[in-house]
């Protein structure tokens, strides 16, 4: 029972990171119908830029407290990633907006590998230790469950960001324009929405969220690496599909469900397979879920309007 509770907590933490990344996928997909393959790599860039920024701050302003250092590093990385997201949209995707659909998809794969290569050139192939500015020593166990301050921070920050995003999309002018663009580009632009701007904004917001997710991911595991974006990216995409792609609530739900399944599954896979499989097969769950969802319920848990797109 304690394992179950512990894995549930771990799953929620990982799941909320997936959810943040999944939001980026789902927003872009909702508006452009494009799977932005490079989204996972933006997470990676976010983590590595934050790492670099924190290193510099610690070098030049060692007196700054831990939390201000982290926040400064985080803001730098969010800004860099927003700029990156904008640049990618502007240079690669915008020109292909009216191109047949396989073209932007292949371009996105290319962008993903380009980002990885550039990161490899800048930061090398090695794993970097990510500074643990928020403590990772577990707090006093509650009901036998250990939770670390960094995990608490991840849960709180992602919850806040998700609420903020929902408010942005549902309550503001920008959000209304985004929904209109997702509904129908042409009509939205006839109603005076500058769709180019809205699409760019979507990429910028998504990239910002991915940067935050990257910093969280690295803070939790204590490492950063040029290829670290691939798996979380793929899992977040799975989460987005699981929840119903194009649907914000779905992405959040999908992220949490996926995190839970994965972490609880990894805890029990050895017993379930009679010792044949072990936790190194953890990554398989995401793909299995993706396959099952796409085959049996391609609209996802909460999706309804995408039936024709699957």
């Amino acid at each position: 029972m304690e394992t179950l509770l512990q894995q549930t907590v771990n799953g929620l933490v990982v799941g909320s990171v997936y959810a943040l990344v999944a939001l980026g996928y789902t927003m872009v997909y909702g508006i452009l119908g494009l799977i932005n393959f490079a989204h996972g790599d933006i997470l990676m860039v976010g983590a590595l830029v934050a790492l670099e920024a924190i290193r510099l701050i610690q070098l030049h302003a060692p007196d700054l407290g831990l939390i201000p250092t982290l926040l400064a590093g985080l803001s730098v990385s969010v800004l860099v990633c927003m700029l990156l997201g904008y640049t990618i949209e502007r240079t690669a995707y915008r020109r292909l907006r009216n191109a047949p659909r396989l073209a932007p998809l292949i371009t996105a794969i290319g962008v993903s590998f380009l980002l990885q290569t550039i990161a490899m050139i800048i930061w090398g192939r090695n794993y970097h230790t990510f500074p643990q500015l928020v403590s990772t020593t577990p707090l006093e166990p509650v009901a036998g469950v250990f939770i670390t301050p960094v995990q608490v921070a991840i849960l709180v920050v992602s919850a806040l960001l998700m609420v903020a995003l929902v408010l942005l999309v549902n309550k503001t002018r920008l959000g209304r324009a985004m929904r209109a663009t997702a509904e129908n580009h042409k009509v939205a632009s006839l109603m005076g929405v500058d769709t180019n701007k809205i699409i760019a904004a979507t990429f910028v917001i998504g990239s910002g969220l991915a940067a935050v997710a990257g910093v969280m991911f690295s803070s939790n595991y204590g490492i950063a690496h040029y290829a670290m974006g691939f798996m979380p990216g793929l899992k977040a995409f799975t989460a987005a599909v699981l929840g119903g792609i194009g649907n914000l609530g779905g992405a959040m739900l999908g992220g949490l469900v996926l995190g839970l399944v994965e972490s609880i599954g990894a805890g029990y896979i050895e017993d379930l397979s009679f010792g044949f499989l072990n936790s190194s097969y953890q990554d398989i769950f995401a793909f299995l879920i993706l396959g099952i969802v796409l085959i049996f319920r391609p609209t996802g848990l909460l999706g309804e309007r995408v039936a024709d797109r699957a």
Binding site: A92, N98, P100, L102, P104, F113, F287, R309, A310
Partner: protein
């Protein structure tokens, strides 16, 4: 055979016969020229032939039938590991290659059907992601199936795989003619691989203009219309998937025999992407383009390796971009730039059976928003 001539577009258009002979001469003479630059280059040519086979197979799936498969390298892995299991000291089984190779091809085809059955009703980008996931699952299993029972030997891979033995003739040993001429086994492998490539080309070309090939083109261009005129789209797509996989399986078996060693590392996502880039670069749906793309993108990184590394040494006193990085850089840039600037590839398809703008266009199988 017109497509062969088109591999040299400027000559092929006016003098197809001449162009055809030039292509044949290049294919036969390439290793003789390559050896002038050293044995490594013959080895690279051998690998280039394997990539050509992979590209031909993937083109069948992506270019002809319009199904974007990002896990294609998994079939290559199935072929390679089948060969490794059945012809190496690992399980101490040593079957002859003319049994193992077809088995590898068969298992790859089976894997194609297993993957295809549930997923082929998905369209476009979803199919891409699911196949990508499949590729990763295969790699994860190869990496971890070394305990509790050792099947794949994990990340270390399997070595000492039997070489190709044709009619009792071990082609991994150099052949001596007279006293001073020895033919390196790299040459022998090249011509064996070339034979397989030629066979594949003939097969695929016949397929393309057959009823099946036309059915694929119809599905690619408009799935709904294809269904309406009575094409069994599910079976046709499955056929494309498993046939494409078969090519991958054969290439994998040849790879295992040639290299004598397989490990999961050779079957990463990057390789799937590399093969995809080759066909995108050359011209999706067009055999000549695909072959040229495969040759160019196998050779180019190697040329860069031999040029860029010494240049960097001379200029910066150290190597900033190592060859692997250069290859990734080249492939990713090729993919992006081709899509932005020349989406139908270096040698666009010309016949009425293969129109790349439609390949790229309707593979998602739906009207744009």
């Amino acid at each position: 055979m017109n497509e062969l001539a088109l591999a040299i577009p400027w000559l092929g258009k006016r003098h197809p016969a001449a162009a055809r002979w030039v292509v044949v001469a290049i294919a036969l003479g390439a290793p003789l020229i390559a050896i002038l630059f050293g044995k490594t280059w013959v080895r690279i040519l051998d690998f280039a032939m394997l990539y050509v086979m992979l590209a031909i197979g993937l083109n069948l799936v992506v270019g002809f039938a319009g199904l974007l498969d990002l896990g294609y390298i998994a079939f290559y892995a199935v072929g390679a590991y089948t060969f490794a299991f059945l012809a190496s000291p690992h399980f101490d089984i040593h079957l002859p290659f003319w049994i193992v190779l077809p088995m590898g091809a068969g298992f790859a085809a089976l894997a194609g059907i297993i993957l295809g059955l549930p997923t082929l009703r998905l369209r476009g980008d979803y199919l891409a992601i699911v196949t990508l996931g499949f590729g990763e699952i295969v790699r994860i299993f190869l990496n971890n199936l070394n305990h509790p029972i050792n099947i794949t030997n994990g990340p270390q891979g399997i070595n000492m795989i039997d070489p190709l033995v044709l009619f009792g003739w071990d082609i991994s040993r150099p052949v001596k003619i007279g006293e001073d001429i020895t033919i390196n086994s790299l040459f022998l492998y090249y011509y064996v691989f070339l034979a397989f490539v030629v066979l594949s080309i003939i097969l695929v070309q016949r397929l393309q203009i057959s009823r099946v090939g036309r059915a694929w083109a119809a599905i690619r261009d408009d799935e709904l219309a294809a269904k309406a005129i009575g094409i069994n789209t599910r079976n046709m797509k499955l056929l494309a998937f498993s046939l494409g996989a078969t090519f991958g399986g054969v290439a994998g078996g040849l790879f295992a025999a040639f290299q004598g060693f397989v490990s999961p590392e050779s079957f990463s996502l990057m390789e799937s992407i590399a093969v995809l880039t080759m066909i995108v670069f050359g011209g999706m749906g067009n055999l000549a383009g695909v072959i040229v793309g495969a040759l160019a993108l196998t050779a180019l990184p190697e040329v860069l390796r031999h040029v860029a590394v010494p240049v960097q040494q001379a200029v910066f006193d150290r190597v900033i971009l190592d060859p692997e990085v250069l290859r990734m850089l080249l492939l990713s840039l090729a993919m992006i730039l081709m899509m932005l600037l020349r989406p139908s590839g270096m040698i666009p398809a010309y016949s009425r059976y293969s129109r790349p703008e439609l390949v790229v266009g309707k593979a998602a199988g739906e009207a744009r928003k």
